[in-house]
Structure formats: C-alpha cells, structure tokens
Point group: C2
Chain length 362, copies 2
C-alpha cells in the first residue's frame, strides 16, 4: 500500500480496547473485540480491522449496539444451541457463541450454534483459528447487509455471506478457508471507483441488472454478483451458497435474513421491515478424534498440502496456493514490520481519538 | 432431448433392481441403489441415473465393487461416526451412512458421518431429500475421481466434489441445493465436443493449464476449472470449496483424497498411489427443533422463497429461481410423461440386458 504508515499491532489493539472500554464494554469483552479486529489487521484483511473501528464507534455512540450485552442460550440439545446476542457487538457475541460450539464438540463430538440478535462479527476466519488452536475443525458463517443480487436478479437481496473452515496439519501450516460467496469484494469496486478504472466483467450489475464494468454503476444502485458471476459459469451456485449461509445463520436462529439484515454502517439504509432480531451467525466445531486418529489426520493434511503445492503450474504462475497462504504470509510480515494503515484510516482513528480523548500515537 | 424416447420411471427402477440382484446384491440394498438412480432420472440429472448403470455393471462384473458389503461404524461419538463402506456400492453405502447421520441427529440434535472405502454414490441431492422427508436439514458431500485443476494449476488434482443441502418450507417447496464445486459440468464439455462447438471461456484449461474454449483440449489431458473460473472472478474460492469437500469426505474418514481418488468408470486411469480406502462421503443432519420452532422456521423459509422470487428481474430473464426449482419441475414432468433416454443410453441398457438375460422392454 503506497502512502501507508506502519503501526505496531499492539498499539492498534490497545487503542481498540480503550475505545470499547470508553463505551463501558466490560474488560474481557473489550479484549475479545479488540482481538478480532487485530486478527483482521494482522492477516491482511484490511477492510475488517481498525478500518472498521469508526463504524463500531458510531453504532455504540448512537446506542444502536448494546455495549453490555448478556449473551444467552435460548434453546439447546447435546450438540447444538441457539444463542441470542442481546444486540451486542458481533465481535463479542461471535467469540462467545463460538466457545459454546467448541464446548459442545468437546462433550458430544460436534457442536453447532446458530446466533440471532447480533451485529457485524469481524472476519469469519478469526473463529476457525480459535477452533484450530484447540485441535478442532471450526466452521464460521455470518449473514451481512444486502449487497449481492441473486442470479437473474436486478437488485441487492443477499449479503456477501462468508464461509470459513480450517483444517490443522502437523508440520505444514493449516488449511484455512475464509471466503465471501460473491465473485469479488466490495472493497475492490470502491478501489476501482477511486482510481477511475473499470472493473472486470463478472463482478457486478448496474441498477437494471445488466452486467457492468463501471464501478460507479455498481455503487449507485447496482449490486455485486454471486461467485460464478453468470449462469454459464455457475453463478447459480454462488447464489445457492449465499442462500445456504443466510438460512443457517438467520432463519435457523431467528435473525433477519436476506434484504432485511440490518446495516452495519451509518451510511447504509435501514430496511423498512424486520423479520427477526439483528443479524445471524453460524458456528460449528468437529472433534477430529471423534472421526479418526488426529495424528493420522494431520499427516494426511500435510501430504495433501504438499501434493497440491506440487501441481504442475499454469503458465505465468508459480502453481497453486493453499487456502490460507496469503493471510499467513501477511501475518508473519505484519507481526515483524507492523500493520500498514492508509491515511484515510488514520484520519478516522484520529477522529475517534479527538471525540473520546483516547490518545493515538502517530 | 431430441431423439430421446420416454420410459416409465417404474420400468427403469425395476430394471436397475434386477441388474443389482443379478450380482447378488441383497434385495433391500438393491432397492436402495435403484432408488438413488431413479431419483437422478426423475430430477433431470440425466448423467447420474440409468445412464451410469453400465458403469456400475462393469465394476460389479469385474469384481471391483463388493456387492454384499458389510457397512460398519469404525469410530463414533454422540453426534458423529466414521463409516467403512467395505468397498460396496456407493448407492448402498451412502444411504446407510446417511441413515446413521439422521439417527444421531434424532438423539443428539445433529449427526455427522464421514465415510471411507465407498464408491460413486449417485446424486448428492438424493441424501438431503431423505433428510427433508424426516424434517431434518440434510447435508451431503462426496469426493470423486480427479477432473478439476486447482486455481493456477495445469493438471487434474481434485474431483467435481459436490455439496448438497436442503431446507424445508411449509407451503412453498423446499430449498434444495445440489452443486458441484467446479464452474461447469464435464457432461457439458462432452456435449460441445460431440456437437463440434466451442465452450465458453471459464470452463476449462488445456494440458498446459492455459484457458481454452476447445472442448477437445479439455478432454485430452486438460482439466475443468473451479467455480469462479479464474483469480479475478474468485476461482480460488471454488478451489477452496473443493478442498473442503475432499478433507471432510476423504481425509476425515481415511479414504483416498485429491488425485488419488479411484476411478468410477473403466475408461478412467487407476491412480498409481493409494493414500486411503476407496472414495469418501460426508453426511450431516440437523434437527430443526434443536434450534428453533420448526413451524416458525418453515414459515420464514416460505417468506424467503417468496421474497427472492419477487426480486426485480435482470434483463431477458423472469427473475431469480429458487435452488431446486429446475429439478422439482423436471420431476413433476417426468413422473407424468416418463424419463427421456438418449439412444446411446438405451443401447447400454440393451447391452446389459443381453449380457444378463434381464428383459428390457423397448
């Protein structure tokens, strides 16, 4: 990133922590929330780290998020639970619900938790890394504010609805999948818009539902398209995955689904109708030893990683990556050299600092 | 289908049943296998119905599939199990393993079964329809013989690795997702090849890993590409989904993963290396009432279905479909008018008839 200045991850963590504390978020919860944001900044998912802190700040400031949420289990079985997030920070509700899934897995072999009445929970990948640290296979999904048109639709009806899942290796790094179910991220459209460059075909439609390569046409009333982009290349599959995430996170928990998912940022319109409570998440945890010897599993994952890396490369590439490679490489580099922040992000942190009195060292 | 003649689904079921019985498959197992094939024929997934019967016939004839397999649970917990299919027909092992997942769900809220030492299990969708009939949310995945290149790879390393999941509605039809994790089906490449027409960009690469629109270049040493097609449009996501399916079905169970998955048809090469037993499947079942009142869930699914159907249509379309619509429409039509079979498929059934003495009424 040109123009980006680097900041120690600890400094950003401490700043986020102090901001959440400013709104009387209890200390353990504030630490969870700051850790989720830090995870995004370390792993190179810049859109989901402190770049979002001002949005959380706004929502807390306006009282639209409950800083002292009481996260409760409203229904459960041996291997499942439904959690009500009490309109808390998703960054707090998410980790607590994920903990419940992991505890269920410890007792019953697997654990599955659907969450309602929550808010934006940060990167989906954070939760599956928590499971990895406990030698579990973790799953994480969330629905989000509408931004994506169904295949053959001309308006935003679904969120970018990400899916994350991770598998531990022994000597090789874990396979960590963390993907939105749309073809391209909104952030890429925003970047093209600022740069005044066209976007590739297969990323977006305009307000009439026609394919567009003009980022302005997407932003101004258009929509992102699902993974697969169009009918010919499997856009119905990305659309189906987005629906799957919406049902597991929101219908199963009693949250708002599809176009009724409430917005995360102030600039986004509030849906005129509510069909549930807040937004929804879905967490899963599988105990590996409930299926197979964990040592054997990890050795096979190592072998799969090596086998995929040894694939004959396509022209102009160094061959396939393993899911999670880019984030792992970013994390190693950022732990050493610091997190790069663009001037616009620094300006937002400075604004929070001014409004709260919390120091931000430049 | 031009040239296709229609056959009553019952006739095809009875013929498949007799063929499996010919190899001394026990009657209840033979009925299961015939039912899975019939499900594909009814739902319009022509590639997976009796069009595959000759491949099963070949494998049984050569003793490469065990007709009297003893399906066993080799490890289990309250909500999970690992099943060994004893090298049986996937069409028999699959339904039995799926039953175990559903029974676990009844007892523990959810059930998850990973299966090794199996063979081709038919359409992924069959299994989730079985769950639907019991008011469960069913999941089904399988790995398959290598056919897909990882993003940035120039050779076949992964199968088409489908994912199916279904959600029941109350008055509206269920949402039934059944999708391969590649951009386009191999059958479509074969059809273009026979027709001598090019394929769209984003379906395949040639033997050097370069994008191709020549179906011959894919068939002769090339590969299909993952959902998303290329890096720009999210091909790394389809690749990640294929890896996810491979791990859950094969690494977690102790089956052969990736390029080592054994072939289903005789014309496909046998991998030189084995890293497990047979191919793998993964089944899941979630009890809706373990999360939420099932009536409330189904009413919200109805409302979601209606909401998505009411999306403003893209130009030249009637608006979005609901996942499962095309198969449901095909089933209604085929139950009424019969299953259309191409002359090449009829010739294969005739060949089985000649070799076994089982009558096939033309």
């Amino acid at each position: 990133m040109p123009d980006a200045k680097r900041y120690p991850p600890e400094q950003l963590f401490d700043f986020s922590l102090a901001v959440f504390r400013h709104f009387a978020v209890p200390p353990p919860d504030a630490r969870l929330a700051a850790a989720v944001l830090q995870s995004a900044d370390l792993r190179g998912v810049d859109s989901h780290g402190v770049a979002r802190l001002h949005s959380y700040f706004d929502m807390l400031q306006l009282g639209r998020i409950n800083p002292r949420a009481n996260v409760t289990v409203v229904r459960e079985s041996a291997s499942t639970a439904t959690v009500d997030g009490d309109n808390g920070l998703g960054l707090v509700v998410g980790p607590k619900a994920n903990d419940i899934a992991m505890a269920k897995a410890a007792a019953a072999g697997s654990g599955w938790v659907s969450v309602r009445n929550s808010n934006h929970y940060g990167i989906a990948g954070y939760y599956v890394l928590e499971a990895l640290a406990r030698d579990l296979i973790g799953w994480s999904m969330t629905n989000t504010t509408k931004l994506v048109a169904p295949l053959w639709g001309a308006e935003r009806m679904l969120g970018t609805n990400p899916i994350a899942i991770a598998f531990p290796g022994e000597r090789e790094p874990a396979i960590v999948i963390d993907m939105a179910t749309c073809a391209a991220a909104y952030g890429k459209i925003e970047m093209a818009r600022r740069a005044g460059t066209p976007i590739p075909a297969g990323w977006a439609v305009d307000r009439d539902g026609a394919t567009t390569t003009d980022p302005n046409e997407m932003v101004e009333g258009g929509a992102l398209v699902p993974l697969g982009s169009d009918r010919e290349r499997g856009g119905h599959k990305g659309y189906a995955l987005a629906v799957m995430v919406d049902v597991l996170t929101a219908v199963l928990s009693g949250a708002n689904w599809g176009p009724f998912a409430p917005p995360f940022a102030l600039r986004q319109e509030i849906p005129t109708r509510s069909v549930g409570k807040g937004i929804g998440h879905f967490f899963g945890a599988l105990r590996i030893d409930a299926f197979i010897d964990p040592g054997e599993f990890k050795r096979q994952i190592d072998e799969m990683v090596r086998t995929l890396r040894a694939t004959k490369p396509a022209p102009g590439t160094n061959g396939p990556l393993i899911p999670g490679d880019p984030e792992r490489i970013a994390e190693a580099e950022r732990r050493r050299a610091g997190v790069p922040l663009l001037p616009a992000v620094v300006a937002e942190l400075r604004d929070i600092s001014r409004q709260t009195g919390i120091a931000f060292a430049e």
